[in-house]
């Protein structure tokens, strides 16, 4: 017997600030905060100033992390606080959608510059020497993808279970889907799920530049970006999901009901298109005309166009919010952030909100939220 799953806490951080109030601005089409200088020619949406001590009180813990893990751990704490669930962490389940952690950029540059001019055999031996002497031992743990979840366990005491999904946007959508499915079937009463992304990173820009999809030069609205339309944004989004009975029993308020979530992965060739995949997912959700759409369009040209075709095929969709326009595209954080925004829309009175996810390369996802009856 499937139990209803509520969203009872949101931890949201982006260039617009932290918390629900700061993000009401995103829903109203706030002008984005953009840094066009630091990573030129690529504009990025930077992080706001965070008082890390509020969520990660031990300096020793902060030192054991790089910015990505700190950001995620911080937002996870915001979500736990928002749900009033500090006392429930021991049995709280955790699924994190993770990317790779920060590399030591200075060391990479120095080694690469030196080795580029050496004969291959000599370069290989020198690489060993430079890495063995140059890598900070603690950096490895600060880089490991599953250590965002590990740090959430250590800092916040979340120990019910811990899983880390990898696979960009889709990983986060499946993290939410599987977390909700486990709760609905009675595997636990409360869970924390989400992801984080730091845009101000040369190593990640290298990966996304390889796709040829990053916007260069001045920031522009998505409609004016052309083929290379990705602007990366620093975002962290965690949600506390809870069965309705678990929330009621402790007197917690549901922010929204997660009415349905569906994910897919089209091969994106021929008939197996992203829009057909998403249309198939939509058919599994009780979507009504007029639902507000929190769009997961990233700005990557092909996926963004596919999403537009999908939305055009929906019967009478309601108002649309292009979150990537104000927050930037935040990969593993994007879908949880859109789901958080959808929750805020429902809180503000909308009868239904649909969060979409269209991965830059692969992955389609839809989630539907409604007010708690």
């Amino acid at each position: 017997m499937a139990e209803p799953v509520w969203i009872t806490g949101i931890g949201l951080v982006s260039c617009l600030g932290e918390g629900p109030e700061a993000h009401a601005a995103a829903l109203a089409g706030a002008s984005p905060v953009v840094d066009e200088e630091s990573f030129a020619p690529f504009p990025v949406h930077p992080l706001p100033a965070l008082n890390l001590d509020r969520q990660i009180p031990k300096k020793g813990d902060q030192r054991q992390m790089e910015p990505w893990q700190r950001l995620g751990t911080y937002a996870a704490g915001l979500a736990i606080d928002h749900a009033g669930a500090r006392g429930l962490v021991a049995d709280m389940h955790l699924v994190v959608a993770a990317g790779g952690g920060e590399r030591d950029i200075g060391l990479d540059e120095a080694i690469t510059a030196e080795l580029a001019t050496l004969p291959p055999a000599e370069a290989a031996a020198r690489l060993n020497e430079r890495l063995a002497n140059g890598l900070r031992p603690t950096l490895f743990l600060a880089q490991l993808s599953n250590l965002l979840a590990g740090n959430i366990s250590i800092v916040h005491g979340v120990t019910g279970s811990s899983r880390t999904f990898m696979g960009e946007e889709a990983a986060a959508a499946d993290a939410v889907r599987i977390t909700a499915a486990r709760l609905a079937e009675g595997r636990g009463g409360i869970a924390l799920v989400g992801g984080a992304y730091v845009a101000a990173r040369w190593d990640m820009l290298l990966l996304y530049a390889a796709s040829g999809g990053l916007l260069r030069g001045a920031w522009a609205p998505m409609a004016e970006r052309g083929e290379a339309g990705l602007v990366m944004g620093s975002v962290a989004a965690f949600l506390v999901l809870e069965t309705a009975s678990h929330a009621r029993a402790r007197g917690a308020t549901g922010l929204a009901v997660l009415t349905g979530i569906a994910t897919g992965a089209a091969r994106r060739r021929g008939e197996d298109s992203a829009e057909a995949s998403a249309a198939g997912l939509a058919a599994r959700l009780p979507l009504r005309p007029g639902a507000t759409v929190i769009s997961g369009a990233s700005g990557a040209a092909a996926a963004t166009a596919a999403e537009a075709r999908f939305l055009a095929g929906l019967p009478a969709p309601g108002p649309m919010v292009r979150s990537a326009e104000s927050l930037g595209h935040s990969v593993e954080a994007a879908f949880p952030a859109n789901l958080a925004l959808a929750t805020l829309v429902v809180q503000a009175g909308a009868p239904q909100a649909l969060a979409t996810g269209f991965g830059v390369w692969r992955g389609e996802a839809l989630a539907l939220v409604e007010p708690v009856a």
Binding site: A98, G100, R103, I105, D108, T112, A113, L115, A116, T117, A121, A124, N128, L131, A132, L135, R136, P137, L139, L141, L144, S145, N146, L147, G150, S153, I154, G157, V158, T159, S161, S162, R163, T164, F165, M166, G167, E168, A170, A171, D174, I178, A181, R182, R187, W202, D203, L205, L206, L207, A209, A210, S211, G212, T263, A265, R267, W361, R362, G363
Partner: protein, 423 residues
């Protein structure tokens, strides 16, 4: 046996298995090597080892990389995962070629752009000593193949395409428990009725300089370089670290009901899975062993069993002083004064990291099939602090119906599986 378990959930059967290990390609070669007590640990041949504290590993060199530059980790992981999956799917006789009737769960290591690629871009950039990331980026721009190769979802997508699995492929990591987590996710999908079958893979291919050095800097690796086959010494007094290794395992899981309906041969059952996260430290367990004990007990409870019904434990058994001490504590806490025998496959194949939980689940099934316990080799000086029957040095026959397989990860992620005989 009924099709539903004590919790009313679908019973999950294993109908196909595949392996790639340092002992060989395929289930037969790997299992024969393991029962013979053979070590797959050798001197590293893939790259020069000057300036390295550890120069040994359990490398898996693929036939197609002979006489060429070694594969990067994502390329190696994908190929080994595909080999193991081909063996498992063929053995299960399930679906049609390129049409596997269920989802893919892929346990794998994080991947990224690697040094050989960085150096190619640096040479193209010709920026000299002033080289910056922006120069590398200029050279890398538009290299779609690199992008798709290094995305975390890339390997899963290509495997999903190749095997025709349904839905979104799930790639995951829980450090050294990854392989067990991939099986657990498949078990849950079948128990929920979300799928009738699942393809669960754990794969690891990270023997390259930077990964080795990172582990080395944590003082996690054995430095017994002079005698590679004797370097991995789980539960032994002179153990001083694990040996990095590579490999892959694949399991075809099905509901017992659907396996029977199509007349498939059932190799064994996944009776239970349990997990518990540790909040103590990034690389060390809480000294009270709470999370390890909790995961072991949760798996046994999930299987509807009592500890006394476990006949043998496939150890996490990495050979680090810390892990083996904590695992011993867990054994005594869960099983009391007369724990069942426990042995470590890692004494022979090393620590296959993201693949370990899946490889060891396959070995657990084979242990039951052949009623024979694989040994813990290199057991020369018993550790008085480890009062366990570790099946020292030679395999032996035993009556085994149920195996507990342990996986404990860096970052505190612990997963245990209970594997049982076919009904």
């Amino acid at each position: 046996m009924k099709d539903r378990n004590h919790l009313g959930r679908h019973v999950v059967a294993v109908t196909g298995i595949g392996l790639v290990t340092p002992l060989g390609f395929g289930v037969a070669e790997s299992w024969a090597g393991l029962l013979a007590g053979r070590s797959g640990i050798r001197r590293i041949s893939r790259f020069p080892t000057e300036h390295l504290r550890t120069t040994i590993a359990g490398e898996v060199t693929l036939p197609e990389e002979m006489g060429r530059e070694p594969f990067t980790s994502p390329e190696r992981v994908e190929r080994m995962a595909a080999l193991a999956a081909e063996e498992a799917v063929a053995g299960a006789g399930i679906g049609a070629p390129g049409r596997f009737p269920g989802p893919l769960f892929l346990g794998m290591p994080p991947v990224e752009v690697e040094w050989p690629q960085r150096l190619v871009f640096a040479r193209q950039a010709e920026a000299g000593a002033a080289l910056r990331y922006s120069d590398l980026i200029a050279a890398a721009s538009g290299q779609q193949a690199l992008f798709e190769n290094c995305l975390f979802g890339g390997i899963g997508e290509r495997l999903a395409d190749r095997f025709g699995t349904s839905g979104a492929p799930i790639s995951l990591t829980t450090a050294c428990a990854t392989g067990a987590s991939s099986i657990q996710l498949g078990v849950e999908a079948i128990q929920r009725g979300e799928a009738q079958a699942a393809l669960c893979i754990g794969a690891e291919g990270s023997v390259q300089p930077e990964a080795l050095i990172r582990f080395s800097l944590l003082s996690a690796l054995s430095t017994r370089n002079d005698e590679p086959p004797r370097a991995s010494r789980p539960f032994e007094k002179t153990r001083e670290g694990f040996v990095m290794s590579e490999g892959a395992a694949a399991l075809v899981l099905e509901s017992l009901e659907s396996a029977r309906a199509r007349g498939a041969t059932v190799l064994g059952l996944i009776l239970g899975a349990g997990e518990r996260a540790d909040s103590f430290h990034r690389t060390r367990s809480n000294p009270d062993g709470g999370a390890i004990i909790g995961a072991m007990r949760a798996a046994i409870t999930d299987a509807g069993l009592e500890p006394g019904q476990i006949d043998y434990v496939n150890a996490h058994g990495t050979g680090t002083p810390e892990n083996d001490k904590m695992e011993t504590l867990g054994m005594r806490a869960v099983f009391g004064d007369s724990p069942p025998p426990i042995s470590s496959n890692k004494s022979m194949i090393g620590h296959t990291l993201s693949a370990a939980g899946a490889i060891e689940a396959v070995f657990s099934l084979l242990t039951i099939r052949d009623q024979r316990l694989p040994p813990t080799i290199n057991h020369e000086a018993p550790d008085p602090a480890i009062p366990l029957d570790v099946v020292p040095n030679v395999a032996r026959d035993a009556k085994v119906a149920r195996v507990l397989s342990n996986s404990f990860g860096f970052g505190g992620q612990n997963v245990c599986l209970v594997v049982g005989a076919a009904p």
